[in-house]
């Protein structure tokens, strides 16, 4: 398998600077990212779906994602749906406050007692969702939970950090005037090149198998895509060997 990022859960907050509930989302997410599940979670700034590149927009397809929103507008959830992929789970602070009968959180910079309680509750709920999602198999081809329920275990991880600017590498290939986005292609090529697997029909079969793990390929597109990927790999292999 190529050295693609290990299985983690992505956390996307609305951050809502204008609402105390937005502050709750930030602090709850940080509690999960830094303290409760540091090795199993990663985050990305919501605006990067628009301001960033294709790799950033691939985030929620690559990672099962939890959207945490301050209010019913659900900016994090709908923004992620619109620009990346449907989150695997979501949480709304106003609902959580209502459900637990808390007072309204107050204070944008420094939360009141109710706000701090909401942070704890939201963080614990998210941590439970992380565990649940890691216990399930995430299908990176479909960008959804795999219903076949294999028992893939979480891999060893490193401390969670911001994913800004370190999106999943993508390549856009043009086939019959249609652009097809292929996730993880440079990493897949690197894996084969490092094993000195020179371009050939057999190697191309192996590469295509790997590409299909991370991408949904329409059967009609496959023959032409195969030709393009072959050309890309030949160019890549030659360039790396010349270096």
């Amino acid at each position: 398998m190529p050295d693609l990022p290990p299985k983690k859960v992505g956390i996307i907050t609305c951050s809502g600077e204008e609402l105390p509930e937005g502050t709750v989302t930030r602090l709850a997410a940080l509690r999960v990212l830094e303290q409760l599940r540091p090795g199993e979670t990663v985050t990305i700034c919501l605006p990067l779906f628009l301001a960033g590149g294709e790799g950033d927009r691939a985030f929620a397809k690559f990672y099962p994602t939890i959207a945490i929103d301050g209010c019913e507008k659900r900016c994090a959830y709908y923004g992620t749906v619109r620009y990346s992929n449907e989150p695997a789970a979501s949480l709304i602070i106003t609902d959580l406050v209502k459900k637990h009968g808390l007072e309204k959180p107050e204070g944008l910079r420094k939360l009141n007692e109710a706000g701090q309680q909401a942070v704890e509750m939201a963080a614990n709920e998210m941590a439970a969702k992380v565990d649940s999602l890691l216990g399930k198999s995430w299908n990176r081809t479909k960008g959804e939970i795999d219903q076949s329920n294999n028992n893939e275990q979480p891999e060893e991880t490193t401390p969670a950090t911001c994913s800004c600017g370190s999106g999943i590498p993508i390549t856009i290939l043009t086939i019959s005037d249609q652009e097809i986005t292929v996730v993880g292609l440079p990493l897949i090529f690197e894996t084969f090149q490092e094993k000195n697997k020179a371009p050939s029909v057999v190697i191309l079969d192996e590469i295509m198998d790997m590409v299909k793990i991370y991408n949904r390929i329409e059967p009609d597109d496959e023959p032409a895509l195969r030709v393009e990927i072959q050309k890309e790999y030949e160019t890549y292999y030659q360039r790396i060997n010349n270096e």
Binding site: E17, K73, R109, S163
Partner: protein, 141 residues
């Protein structure tokens, strides 16, 4: 006073770096403490969602963007919405002038981070005056 009545303050919404927290705290200093009557805090998430009221706010008044990193999401989002940018600032640029104020922490900034946010807010306060055409005499009056 110029025809511009208010200035939008648009901080970074990142939670992965201290510099993002500095931008957010500076935005709170400006919109809550220093210039509440002259400014509107604009959250990026609502722009991502395409919220009409927030878009109108961005189109109606000039914006000062406060970004936490070089990706400059705030600046790009205002540009994406067709808003006018009075000034785009990156926290790192202000930090270069205040090397002794190295921010640390995200949920809770260290003292240096809070001071850096104050320094950034001071810079922005001056830009607000320029943007609104407020003279020293008007301010003192």
């Amino acid at each position: 006073m110029s025809e511009t009545e208010k200035v939008n303050i648009v901080p970074c919404s990142g939670i992965g770096k201290s510099f993002g927290s500095v931008s957010r705290l500076a935005a709170y200093y400006i919109t809550e403490d220093d210039r509440p009557a002259d400014t509107t805090l604009v959250p990026l998430a609502l722009l991502v969602l395409g919220d009409k009221d927030t878009n109108n706010t961005v189109l109606s008044n000039p914006s000062i963007t406060l970004d936490g990193c070089k990706l400059q999401c705030a600046k790009k989002m205002i540009g994406e919405c067709g808003g006018q940018i009075a000034q785009d600032l990156v926290v790192l640029d202000v930090y270069r002038d205040h090397r002794d104020l190295k921010p640390a922490g995200i949920a809770v900034l260290n003292e240096a981070g809070e001071k850096l946010a104050r320094a950034l807010a001071d810079v922005v306060d001056l830009i607000i005056d320029q943007t609104l055409g407020i003279t020293r005499e008007e301010k003192n009056a």
